[in-house]
């Protein structure tokens, strides 16, 4: 993995964790494996708010229907990375 890719991974994960930090979590610690629904119980409105912030941070379009494939924080970061890499 190149340094550039690692930097992007870290930037995305850090941004996602920062945005998520304002929501309460059932787990001891918020990390890549935290389940957005089971551990954090984020409701649909907060999830949408989170996605709008992600879109603005990375200047991408993140359709809500893509969340069907997202369970954990890592899944979310992976989806964002895919969008950033395919950004026109």
């Amino acid at each position: 993995m190149s340094n550039q890719t690692q930097d992007l991974d870290q930037e995305i994960m850090q941004t996602v964790l920062t945005h998520l930090a304002r929501f309460p979590t059932k787990s001891e610690e918020l990390n890549a494996q935290t389940d957005l629904s089971a551990d954090m119980n984020i409701d649909s409105v907060n999830m949408m708010e989170l996605l709008m912030e992600v879109e603005d941070t990375f200047d991408v379009s993140f359709p809500l229907n893509m969340m069907a494939n997202v369970n954990t924080v890592q899944d979310l970061a992976d989806q964002i990375k895919q969008l950033v890499e395919n950004r026109p």
Binding site: V60, L64, N65
Partner: protein, 402 residues
């Protein structure tokens, strides 16, 4: 997740509402006394959460028309229009909507929810792009989700945020669908439709407006906020419901595009559901006539809305928006919201208790919807109940005045 897990999840939701004594399913209207009153738990209660904006549900013209239709045509249609055929009333009501809006296309659906579902599932396909206001009603989200289109939200009532999101779509913005509502049902705020429409058109996008809560209430003719914003000739699809100002059950979609009628051949919520009953159609038809010929009903509604709005403000309550037929009182927590809601019920006033996520910012809302059928004595009684309910709380009279 298994079905038993899901039942456990639902039981948890019920129990959490029960814990703060805020379970709306315990409210039973034992007897409906008028458009604005019912007996609840043995008590005569003023209803301020019905969406019965024009108060037409007991109007003799509507009742006579509905009863006559039922006697002439029966109690139900027993099937869909595609399979069983349309009744004359379905077709004539569609013509009335088209004529009232001055457009070539109108379709009616069996409920308001199915109207948005039917339009969106009918016109969208996987890969299509939709940009919708983040406060959109669940039926708009559901219609987008089921259609398989890519849908994203723009910040509520913010044309510049819409512009930013359309820009990000690049070439896909052309032909995308932008969706807004007229009057938003929870906060009672209205959309800047002219600005949103201008941004959508700038990018070559289609523009759809749901006037569920604004039809019959806004605009000189009562057509809604698109009429008031002067964009009737630009908006592509307008949807609405029969279950609010029209005092019945069903929904409508009108369009300046003649092709919209083709949805009859490819909208599953239209094709695979029983058509509206003759009584529902006749009542909606009579209500539509009332809107067209009696503008004074709307004036009465606004007088009531202004009186309640000014009164609540005078009591120090924090209101979520400027005056409209939906007046939402912000309450800092769901526990305090539930306490006030129960106190209002004890005082003989029923409002809607709205909890997160339906209420924004982790707050609760005491949502009042006004009716033209309320009288000033009732409005004053509602204000007295709010005054009594706030006694002894952090929201005591004047405490949150700003």
């Amino acid at each position: 997740m298994s079905i038993s897990d899901r039942f456990a999840e639902l039981a948890h939701i019920r129990d959490s509402l029960g814990a703060v004594e805020a379970d709306p399913s315990r409210i039973v209207m034992e007897k409906i006394l008028s458009p604005t009153e019912a007996r609840i738990a043995g008590k005569r209660t003023i209803l301020v959460g019905t969406n019965n904006y024009l108060g037409l549900t007991f109007e003799p013209e509507l009742l006579d028309a509905a009863c006559a239709a039922m006697h002439e045509q029966g109690s139900g249609t027993t099937g869909s229009r595609m399979a069983n055929g349309s009744f004359a009333g379905h077709a004539s009501l569609e013509r009335d909507f088209a004529e009232f809006y001055g457009v070539p296309s109108a379709m009616i659906f069996s409920t308001g929810y199915q109207t948005n579902l039917g339009l969106l599932m009918g016109i969208l396909r996987p890969g299509d792009k939709v940009v919708l206001d983040s406060h959109s009603h669940a039926c708009i989200y559901d219609g987008c989700r089921i259609s398989g289109a890519d849908f994203l939200a723009f910040r509520h009532n913010d044309p510049e945020d819409l512009r930013k999101r359309l820009r990000r779509l690049g070439g896909d913005a052309e032909g995308a669908l932008v969706i807004a509502e007229g009057l938003y049902s929870m906060l009672g705020d209205i959309a800047p439709l002219a600005e949103l429409c201008a941004v959508a058109k700038e990018y070559g996008a289609w523009f759809m407006v749901d006037e569920a809560h604004s039809f019959g209430v806004y605009g000189e003719k009562g057509l809604g906020l698109c009429e008031e914003a002067g964009i009737l000739d630009q908006v592509d699809f307008i949807t609405g419901t029969f279950s609010k100002s029209l005092a019945s059950l069903g929904g409508f979609c009108v369009s300046r595009h003649p092709e919209m009628q083709l949805l009859r051949y490819g909208s599953r919520p239209y094709i695979f559901t029983a058509s509206s009953s003759p009584a529902n159609i006749a009542a909606a038809d009579a209500a539509l006539r009332a809107i067209r010929t009696r503008p004074e009903i709307k004036d009465k509604l606004w007088a009531n809305a202004n009186r309640l709005y000014d009164g609540l403000k005078g009591l120090g309550y924090e209101l979520a928006s400027t005056v409209s037929p939906v007046i939402a009182v912000r309450v800092p927590s769901k526990e305090e919201g539930a306490r006030l809601w129960n106190a209002l019920l004890d005082e003989g006033v029923y409002v809607n208790l709205v909890l997160p996520p339906a209420a924004p910012d982790s707050a609760a809302l005491l949502r009042c919807s006004l009716s033209a059928a309320h009288n000033f004595e009732q409005i004053d009684a509602i204000l007295a109940a709010f005054k009594a309910a706030s006694a002894g709380s952090d929201m005591a009279v004047g405490a949150s005045a700003q």
